[in-house]
């Protein structure tokens, strides 16, 4: 376990973008919010929002949640782009600069090394993103509170621990689902990174694209495309709404119907196969060619 924590630390040293990107995202969001609230950069934004937020009928809870989701959605996009670029490179860079010969001279097994890369993308990067969401949200709510300090109802809701707790719980639940649902895609990119002789980024995209094209030409269907694209969102997309803003279900965190979806488990099984293949490739391939 100690070796594993060193392997994770190693990833953090190498991939400074893993924390710089969320930090920059938070900074940009806070700056945009500050500019919008206090400088009127977006001419229509302050008046309309002011009107919305100060209306008697508005449900402050909705505002709080919408704010959270807006922030979290931006972070999720940045996270997914970051995960892709991290995974594409993680087993390729060490072969390209031949430093794999150094790493393989130390007693850290191929299994532990490959798993550390997956865990970094699957757990560490989202954890950093979640911290970024929290920080950005705190600062933006602080700005909103200063701007609308006279609207007591809004302020009370923004800073209500119950709303915060539920909103964060909701966000984390969604994040977890997104991660598990997209795990086969991530494992695929990891495998390509372990295998690809060059340009893993291109190969990771070309193979599913070609498969989709061949399917379209031969069978006229587009299952491959649907499966791949579908994995980039939420599992509920096909079975029911989950993230439409007007129907946010507070109880979604106690809804475990997703766990019963065979597609989820099938996806995890496929992911395990990809990861196993990546480990075997790193173990067996002559590292110096």
């Amino acid at each position: 376990m100690n070796t594993f924590s060193w392997l994770l630390r190693r990833e953090l040293w190498e991939n400074r973008a893993a924390w710089i990107a969320p930090l920059a995202t938070a900074a940009v969001l806070v700056l945009i919010a500050a500019a919008g609230l206090f400088n009127g950069v977006t001419a229509s934004f302050p008046q309309e929002l002011t009107h919305e937020l100060t209306r008697e009928s508005v449900d402050p809870r909705q505002v709080a949640v919408v704010g959270l989701i807006g922030i979290a959605a931006v972070f999720l996009l940045v996270l997914q782009l970051g995960q892709y670029s991290y995974l594409v490179d993680c087993l390729y860079a060490e072969r390209k600069d031949r430093s794999i010969l150094f790493w393989k001279s130390l007693p850290a097994s191929d299994t532990a090394t490959v798993l550390s890369k997956l865990v970094f993308a699957l757990l560490v990067m989202p954890a950093i993103a979640a911290a970024g969401v929290l920080a950005a949200q705190l600062l933006i709510y602080l700005l909103v509170s200063v701007k609308f300090s006279s609207t007591a109802g809004l302020i009370a809701t923004l800073w209500s621990p119950a709303v915060w707790g539920k909103a964060m719980g909701y966000a984390l639940y969604v994040l977890l689902l997104v991660e598990l649902w997209a795990l086969p895609l991530m494992a695929w990119v990891l495998l390509v990174s372990a295998y690809s002789p060059r340009t893993p980024g291109l190969l990771a995209l070309l193979v599913p694209l070609c498969a989709a094209l061949v399917e379209k030409l031969l069978l006229g269907s587009s299952h491959v495309l649907h499966i791949v694209v579908g994995r980039m969102g939420l599992p509920h997309a096909s079975t029911g709404p989950m993230i439409t803003l007007d129907k946010i279900d507070w109880n979604v965190t106690t809804d475990f119907s997703v766990v019963a979806m065979p597609e989820l488990w099938l996806g995890l099984l496929v992911a395990a196969g990809f990861v196993w293949a990546a480990i075997e490739i790193r173990r067996r391939r002559d590292p110096s060619v």
Partner: protein
């Protein structure tokens, strides 16, 4: 004690090219073995096989383990440099030390840091800011600080100046004398290591052409420096090679009685480099 390395009938080919052809060798504990061969002879392939980096046909055991199957366990007792200066450019020297100390139970941090202090390398520097020679020194410092039972070094001093090479070999020998480790080393600068080798292995075109202790090399091989008028007699004793040094013929003999040779001129022990040239170029035929 049983052999640290025991190999029989190792074979490896890439496509039609045979890189290792029926290689057998043994390394006993407490030896310093020089593995010498021309470029492309199979040295690096053989080392990589011993380290479990590539699979080969034949029987191979290192420290009693299968290098591929038991690789994780093997790496606790085997330290190696497969090629120098391969540290990733983004790594800080201090982080490299922390990491190695974190994952290696036999890494001695103080030794590594002392070696680096002597070399004047800043621990907060990133590898990308160091010269190639300095990166090599960092790599050597990391690997040499591991208390390994077997140390495998493939061209460890490539790119180092003569002072750094000398000081590296001095500390290598000092370490060796203190502990109970065996060393397998390859280099093209044979003259720098021959005085401390205990065993010699020549490899050429995938085959082992000499495997002997330095002692027996001294007993078996002799070099005769003579004059041209003794050529007939010298050739009659069947030398393995002939060359000329400053107009005087020099003959190399394998197993010939030195008493016979002394009659023809000056007899001495050949250098490893001369022996190597004689063996690899195929000698007189």
């Amino acid at each position: 004690m049983s052999a640290l390395v025991h190999a029989t009938g190792l074979k490896k080919s890439y496509g039609a090219k045979v890189v290792l052809d029926d290689v057998s060798m043994t390394i006993a504990p407490g030896r310093i073995v020089g593995l010498i061969g021309p470029n492309g002879a199979g040295k690096t392939t053989l080392l990589k096989a011993l380290l479990g980096l590539i699979g080969v046909e034949g029987h191979l055991s290192v420290l009693g383990l299968d290098p591929i199957r038991d690789r994780d366990q093997l790496l606790r007792d085997v330290a190696f440099i497969a090629d120098v200066a391969l540290l990733p450019r983004w790594l800080r020297v201090g982080d490299a030390i922390d990491f190695t100390a974190g994952v290696h139970p036999r890494f001695r941090r103080e030794r590594c840091e002392e070696f680096l202090r002597k070399s004047g390398i800043d621990l907060s520097a990133r590898i990308r800011t160091l010269s190639k020679g300095m990166v090599t020194k960092v790599h050597l410092a990391l690997v040499m600080a591991i208390d390994a039972r077997l140390l495998v070094l493939d061209e460890p001093t490539l790119g180092l100046d003569i002072l750094a090479r000398r000081s590296f070999y001095d500390s290598l020998v000092a370490d060796y004398l203190q502990g109970d480790r065996s060393i397998l080393i390859t280099t093209h600068q044979v003259e720098e290591i021959e005085h401390f080798l205990t065993d010699l292995i020549f490899i050429d075109r995938g085959r082992i052409i000499l495997d002997a202790s330095m002692e027996s090399v001294g007993q078996r091989f002799h070099e005769l420096v003579t004059t041209p008028d003794h050529s007939g007699a010298a050739l009659a004793l069947k030398p393995v090679s002939r060359r000329e040094v400053l107009g005087r013929p020099v003959y190399l003999y394998d197993g010939t009685d030195p008493a016979e040779l002394t009659k023809l001129g000056e007899v001495r022990t050949p250098s490893v480099a001369d022996l190597f040239v004689a063996k690899v170029s195929g000698g007189l035929s």
